[in-house]
């Protein structure tokens, strides 16, 4: 799992040059390797559909559904009414209320500080106070 995550992080360092096929192949390799690790979050009781891996210091809001195939890095804050499936969130990220992400990646140190956002098959990057501020690369 760590190997694939590292490869994805390297790809995200050059977002202009992300190769769709390479990314899809890494994700295909990664998802079966996500192990379940969910006993260490801060927050109320979300719904988990395994496998879901939570790193350190993950804060989760109310009425959240995570999984299957979700990895959440350390120091991540997830708002209320969020649903994530087949999604990777790297370290030091925050996302707002009422997000529904399917097959997405959020780059490290991104802060999506807005609400009511649905997205599929995209890389999401940057600090954004609204959807229009967000860098989105569809794959």
């Amino acid at each position: 799992m760590k190997e694939e995550l590292k490869k994805i992080e390297l790809l995200l360092e050059n977002p202009n040059k992300i190769q769709e096929v390479a990314l899809k192949n890494i994700l295909k390799s990664l998802f079966p390797k996500i192990s379940n690790h969910i006993d260490n979050y801060i927050g109320d009781y979300p719904t988990f559909i395994e496998p879901v891996y939570l790193a350190e210091n993950v804060q989760i809001g109310d009425d959240v559904l995570l999984g299957p195939n979700v990895y959440i890095g350390s120091n991540v804050k997830i708002g209320n009414y969020v649903e994530l499936s087949n999604t990777i969130i790297f370290d030091n990220v925050s996302i707002g209320n009422n997000f529904k992400l399917e097959n997405c990646l959020i780059a490290p140190n991104s802060h999506l500080n807005f609400e009511n956002f649905k997205c599929k098959s995209s890389v999401l990057i940057g600090d954004a106070a609204s959807e229009k501020d967000l860098r989105k690369i569809i794959f």
């Binding site: 109320d44 009781y45 719904t47 559909i49 499936s85």
Partner: protein, 238 residues
Amino acid sequence: MHENNEEEISRIKELESINLASPEIRDSVVSTKKSIEKENELLASKINTTLKTHNIKSFDIVGAIGAGKTEIISQIVEKLYTKYKILVICGDIITRVDANRIEAHNADTVQINTGRECALNAYHIHQIIKNKDLNKYDLLFIENVGNLICPSDFILGTDKRIVVVSITEGEWVIEKHPMLFKMSDIAVINKIDLKERLGTNVDKMINDAKRINPNIEIITTSAKKDTNIDKLISHMGL
């Protein structure tokens, strides 16, 4: 819609009682509730079609905590794993205890921790089966969250539903929970090995089940003692 009304609707959905809605939002709450029920039914139908297309027989097993659902499933899996490729989806508020127990008997498992939700719904099942290679399986069990109330709100798209009660819950348990028995195909009265010690009126339990649902098949079992598990498997058509 005003932000306070949205919050109130959210709170009322959690409480699942439209009677708590203030008059100005009652219609919205009723409409939302109906919409959710319809969506669940549509999704359950889609799940059933998908499973049938892959020739997967499927069972939803409901019952209170401690009725014996996990032990029954474990026993069935132990007897059938050489004949079927089995997937078991386990629903619990928290922990992976049941999935771990069943895995020891040679089935693949997926655990859903529902947090604050007291039953699995069709969306949970849909999310699992759309991410699974269904060609690997021909038998699916879903062990629902342990209680005799909430699972009646959501059908899951399986071929049959089995409700499990145990004689340790008392002889009035079926009379007090008619909805799930109306919606089930098979009723299992478990822990029958304790009948003499407890003096539970099992005949009343059987009569109650038949009165509520004349078509329901009823089997008394002891999962621990392997009593009538083969008979249950036969009733399931496996």
